[in-house]
Structures are given as structure tokens and as C-alpha cells.
Symmetry: C2
Subunit: 300 residues, 2 copies
């Protein structure tokens, strides 16, 4: 079954201890799409400027990403410039130019409205909600968010949480959202705010998954060569939603498998600058890592 | 099979967001013993002062801990006073009085020298090595260490590592020991220094296990009410070594099971001040948590 993502498309300039990559293709919806397309057809809703080149469109289209929802507006594409710390566990933003993304009002094309699986990449809760209002009746809808919205638009976020099936956040965000310092307590408290599923990302420490029916922990894939962590979270979401959208039924076991696939696609992304590695990945390489990850967590 | 531990016995004063506990029984060998005795007989080698009360001896002896190796010296018992941060992920030492522990020269009683399993709790590499020299020929010997010794006595620590079977360290220590910032690389590099097994503790994020034959990750038991993190690491080591000493053979599967038991005993310790909770634990409560932990990591 198909999958819709709404989020940013960007040019990223990234500095890591491994080097600098200038103006590479980035943005939440791009990383998500390039991970999810390893499992299913992806429908992309985003905005770019007139400077967005045909080669980037081709890269996405060649991998089964439908760009009918990508609007081209007068002006430039969203630009981000960041620098990572020596251990790459933190980063600072050196420059942001929102450009055409600044007043992004997602328009879901009519032929996309029946898409059963929806991912709302990081954005204001109001914008995320406006996408939901355009959809027919999605089977499974998951949203990402960030500290900015928890701080500034908490009421809108809490309202959104009553209309989505899953929330993906990182550990500091879920603590901020719920006011709990213990991560297990925070995960349970987030679940009580509405969604059936709360996934808490912990970077190199993997993730926790909270649902009414189970709690689950999975470590990160044991990557030895992190080159550029940008897009890890969106690639995780892409692998998760991509696999889940191929499942006949959304069972606990399928959700756990989907989390493992998300862990794998995130691990591929961070091994190259920008989208280089995830764009070059194929399904067999994903399956190999999935098996290695199962072995890594196996008790026997 | 029996198990020997060499380490500190102390009076701890601990401040956490949950309150303050004054002069409670503590020390690495105490936490280790109270976790390990849930699986096997424990032989303790340590030193105390004349102020060490009969009730603490009784608490240990009643739980099958043999105190024949605990020396009483003129003066006071080791004292430590620490305060934890609000999220309890860091702590500061407010006061240390080494007292009788200051010139601790472990003497292994003759009837302890044939003990097949040995744990060298945190101490100077020279002191740890002096214990090994007193033992007949242990089947499995594991050592803990800390940043202080990596910084000041690295040569002695590297020498020790060629004579032990396993090393237990935390994530920052293994990075410091090996000069690697990536934890998987650091774990592999530590393994190359001699031991068959390197366990890297990551606090609330669980642990990684590195051996020649497997790499393994296990999350922490999902504890919701951390009261006092003191002794978590030594309780982990106690559960690990305690279970392993009951195994006929030291296989990969048994090492992984032992790591899970260590995770469980650590989770019990942190739910009470000092040794209160681990001293009150019984084997059925350990088995229940072991099963819950298996469920937590299970992919189905």
C-alpha cells in the first residue's frame, strides 16, 4: 500500500569531523522518501524554489518517488548549514534560510488523498493538522515534532496527538513534552496523550517503543563509521513507515519489525554525506543489516 | 561453583532528588556480593575499620556471604558522600575519607585461593594484579576499572588486561582507554588488548558486550522509579558473575544470559537507597524481571 510524506526539501551544508559537504540534497521529506522507497511507492508533498535542479527530481523519481505533490515556488529552496561536534552526538546550526519553505502550506493533490499511510515530518502542529484535514481517512498516520513546537505550540501539538496513530520523538523531546525525567515514565505519559504508538529515538543508543500492548527496546545498528548523522531520524521514520505500509495488518510484531527496519535505514544514511548512502542502498543490503541486527540483539 | 570478590566496603551518604541516606552500608564489594549471592556462595575479601557494626556483618552472612577475607584494621571504615543531579545521570563527590581502605593490601585467605570465579572490583591495577597472583588458577576472572587508573596507571592496567578474562567498563572509560570515539570501535579495540570479553555499561541505555565470537546489545531493565543509582555497576557485575559461576560451561549463550541477570540485579539495586532493595531481593523476583526483560527485547 502507498505512503504519503509531507515535509521539507532542502539544500544542506554539513560539517563533520570527516569533512564538509556543500549544498547537498536534504530535508526531512527527502531522507524519509529515500528510506521508505526501499519498501513501497512514496508520494511526496513538499515545496522547492526555482533553483531546485532536474537531477534531484530525477534521483527521487528513478527510485519510485511520486513528485506530483512537490510545488515549485518563486524564489529559492530551503537552506540549512550545520556543524557537528567531534563525537557527532551534538550539532549547532550555523545558518538557516527558510526561503520558499517559510510559508509552506501543504497541498495534497486529489489523487494522493486516499493514501492509507501518512507521515507528517517535523513542522508546526497547525501545518501538520492541515494535511490530515485534506486526507480521506488514513489507516495509519505518524507525526514527528521538535522542541520548538513543544515549547511554542503545545496546545496545537496536544490537539494533533489526539488525531494521529503514532508519534516519533527523541528522548529529550518526550521528557519536555511530558515533564517526566524518567524515560519509561515519559513514554507512558506520551501514550496517554492519544497516539496508539510512541517511538522514542535515542540516537546511538537506539530506541524505545511504547504501545498499549507492549513496550520494546532496540539498540541502534552497530555502525562503526558514522560520516554524517543528518537525516538519521527521518530515515528511521522512512524505514519504519515503509515496511509498515507493506503489512496486511498492523500487529505488535509488525510494528517491532518496522522499528528494526527503521533502525537499519537510519544506519545506512549516517554512513555517507547527505543522501548519498541511502540513495545508493538496495533492498538486499537492508535485509542483510536487518539479519545482523537480529543477531546483535539475540540472547542465544 | 563459588565466587570471590575483592573490593571496598564503605559507609555511604547519598543525596538524590528522592532524599538523603546517611552512613548506609555501601562499597563495591558489598553491592557485588548482595547481587551475586542470589545465585551462588560468595567469598568476600575487603577491609573495614573498628566502627564496622555487627549488624552489617550479619546482613551479609545471613545471605551466604563468607566474610573470612574481611580484615578489621585500627581506625575507621571507608566513607563516601555524593550528590546526584536531578535526572540522576551524573553525580558529584562531596567528600571521601579513605580511612582503612587507603592502604588496602588484599590478603586472600588460603581456603579462598582455589575459587574458580574472581571479580576484581575497581581498584588500582597493581592491587588487582596482587590478588590474581594469590589465586591458584581461576577459571574466569573479571575486572572493573575507572578513569583515574586509565589516566594515571595505564601501563599497569594494560598489563592486567593480558591476565584477565573479562573487563567491565562504562562507555566514557572504554573511549578513554582506547582513544576511539565510536563505541563499537572502542569495544573492539579494548578486546584486542587481551580479555576474551569486554562489557561496556551505558547506564540507563543498557550495555554492549564484545567478544571474539559475538557482539551483543541489551537495554537496561525499564525501571520507572530510580531512587539511588549508587552501586548499579557493581550489582550488575554481581548478577553477571553470580549467574556465570553456576554455569557448567562458559558459552556465548551463557555469557548473554549472565549479562541479562546483571541487568536485572542492577535494576533492583537502584530502586532503593543503598543496599536496601538488593538485600531484600530473592531469586523469584530476579527470575520475574529476567522474563520481563526478555519480553522487552523480544521482536515478537
Amino acid at each position: 500500500m502507498s505512503l504519503l510524506v509531507v515535509g521539507s526539501t532542502a539544500f544542506d551544508t554539513v560539517e563533520t569531523p570527516h569533512g564538509t559537504a556543500k549544498d547537498c540534497l536534504g530535508g526531512s521529506s527527502t531522507y524519509f522518501s529515500l528510506a521508505a522507497r526501499l519498501f513501497t511507492k512514496v508520494r511526496l508533498v513538499s515545496v522547492v524554489g526555482q533553483d531546485f535542479p532536474a537531477q534531484h527530481r530525477k534521483l527521487l523519481e528513478d527510485r519510485g518517488v511520486d513528485l506530483a505533490g512537490v510545488e515549485t515556488k518563486p524564489g529559492k529552496t530551503f537552506r540549512w548549514h550545520g556543524r557537528y561536534s567531534a563525537d557527532m552526538n551534538s550539532r549547532e546550526t550555523l545558518d538557516v534560510q527558510l526561503n520558499t519553505f517559510g510559508d509552506f502550506k501543504p497541498k495534497v493533490p486529489p489523487m494522493f488523498r486516499n493514501t492509507p499511510h501518512v507521515f507528517l515530518a517535523n513542522g508546526s502542529p497547525g501545518t501538520q493538522r492541515s494535511v490530515l484535514d485534506q486526507m480521506d481517512d488514513p489507516r495509519f498516520c505518524v507525526a514527528d515534532t521538535m522542541d520548538l513546537w513543544i515549547d511554542r505550540e503545545k496546545a496545537g501539538l496536544l490537539e494533533l496527538m489526539r488525531h494521529i496513530d503514532g508519534l516519533i520523538v527523541n528522548d529529550s523531546e518526550v521528557k519536555m513534552l511530558t515533564g517526566r525525567t524518567n524515560l519509561i515514565q515519559a513514554g507512558r505519559a506520551a501514550l496517554a496523550l492519544g497516539p496508539k504508538l510512541v517511538i522514542v529515538k535515542k540516537g546511538e543508543h537506539g530506541c524505545f517503543v511504547f504501545s498499549e500492548h507492549f513496550h520494546h527496546a532496540l539498540p541502534a545498528y552497530p555502525t562503526e563509521d558514522v560520516v554524517d548523522p543528518t537525516g538519521a531520524g527521518d530515515s528511521f521514520a522512512g524505514g519504519f513507515m515503509g515496511f509498515l505500509s507493506t503489512c496486511e495488518t498492523i500487529t505488535s510484531a509488525n510494528m517491532k519489525r518496522a522499528v528494526a527496519y527503521g533502525t537499519v535505514t537510519a544506519s545506512l544514511t549516517v554512513e555517507g554525506f547527505g543522501v548519498d548512502r541511502i540513495a545508493a542502498a538496495d533492498r538486499p543490503s537492508v535485509e542483510r543489516r536487518y539479519q545482523e541486527l537480529q543477531q546483535f540483539v539475540s540472547g542465544t
